[in-house]
Symmetry: D2
Subunit: 135 residues, 4 copies
Amino acid sequence: MFESTTQLRVRYAETDQMNVVYYGNYAQYFEVGRAESIRNLGVTYKQLEETGVIMPVVEMHVKYLRSAHYDDLLTIKTMIKELPTGHKVEFHQEVYNEANKLLTIGKVVLYFIDGATKQKTAIPTIFKDKLEKFF
Amino acid sequence: MFESTTQLRVRYAETDQMNVVYYGNYAQYFEVGRAESIRNLGVTYKQLEETGVIMPVVEMHVKYLRSAHYDDLLTIKTMIKELPTGHKVEFHQEVYNEANKLLTIGKVVLYFIDGATKQKTAIPTIFKDKLEKFF
Amino acid sequence: MFESTTQLRVRYAETDQMNVVYYGNYAQYFEVGRAESIRNLGVTYKQLEETGVIMPVVEMHVKYLRSAHYDDLLTIKTMIKELPTGHKVEFHQEVYNEANKLLTIGKVVLYFIDGATKQKTAIPTIFKDKLEKFF
Amino acid sequence: MFESTTQLRVRYAETDQMNVVYYGNYAQYFEVGRAESIRNLGVTYKQLEETGVIMPVVEMHVKYLRSAHYDDLLTIKTMIKELPTGHKVEFHQEVYNEANKLLTIGKVVLYFIDGATKQKTAIPTIFKDKLEKFF
């Protein structure tokens, strides 16, 4: 399994009038978690796109257990539990607050798509080479 | 079953450099769909909050089938398939483009929470009274 | 002078924990106002981009007089006070609430840029033709 | 003069189909710059709010000189050039990319408002005490 963590601080813009982070903003937090997890592997999502492969999200599942608040320093844990063998990759994600309470659980599925042909393709080699040593 | 539709137009702000609507922005589209569906019942989400009940989202599930693009006029279909009997309500949501293609399928689960005590509570009467005639 | 109005409803996502619309979200409201004003002329911003001209914002000025709140139905007034003769266009914008109170005053300046060469260019003909009858 | 810098990385969500950061998102970057500048003083914006003072934005002015792109590590420089003596504070802000090119210049004016009475008030003492040693 590959696992990575990153931190971010809740912006005022991300709160709503319920005094908590708006439920839709976790998609951005998950994106930051995924981008930083790939960077921790030694490659960047930007570099993956530069190989001609784009990675649109095809599924997202979120469970909201506890609220995040303004100025909270959140920890985003990102896990890839299975080495992608086909045309998709699953990221499992968890968001924790500073008291180490689990706030949110997410699963985001992305396809590998050839940017030119818009057809499904395999995981880019520069991503796979970094990832397979964890499996 | 209760069903309602509303329309909105994709903003430039909502696109990303993949030239499509960013995956996280559908949570806002679903919110608009839910708010307008409740308004169509003859009550508003704002009025529900004014009764002292807040409705945090506890679960969201999204499948992304096709992309939405800048300036698309989207139709958001919102359905409540079961009359809420406990402390939660499930909204089923679908997003269509102008060619009537199904782009996105969502399910969003919200709890009824007493804003003062932060405890789970029942569906507000003004909401239930409007809703139960559909079941 | 060319003047156009459009309406939009404040989303929960757009509020912050001060119980008002977050100050940064007015840029989106202004964008909606500009896009609808151009549509009212009989052309769309999307069509302008398809002519190969992009219109990046180079200046924005906003005065916040009163707050907008969740579910408010806002009126966005958009004005072009001078026919663009060079490579830029100025949009003047005002946001009103349902009580017709002026909430926000904005001015947004955009350049006409050739998407291929990234150089400044003149106003697209399809835009100018529609606009000049107002001056 | 008080000056502070912080860094943030551009999210995919913050780009638009022009392949650059959407013009409205700089308001969030400025917010992060202001929050971190106050934290660098030894107090937090959250603590200021807890004293009962809220700080709504009343003016924003932005000049966009160059574009920011996905995954850019931006430096936000935040300056207070005059010690607030009345009921408002002016933040001057600059955004730089990794090549140290100046991308954006902003000025944001905020009022000090008593959260209970909604009337203008003076700068909170815990903020002023930290700030005045720079003047």
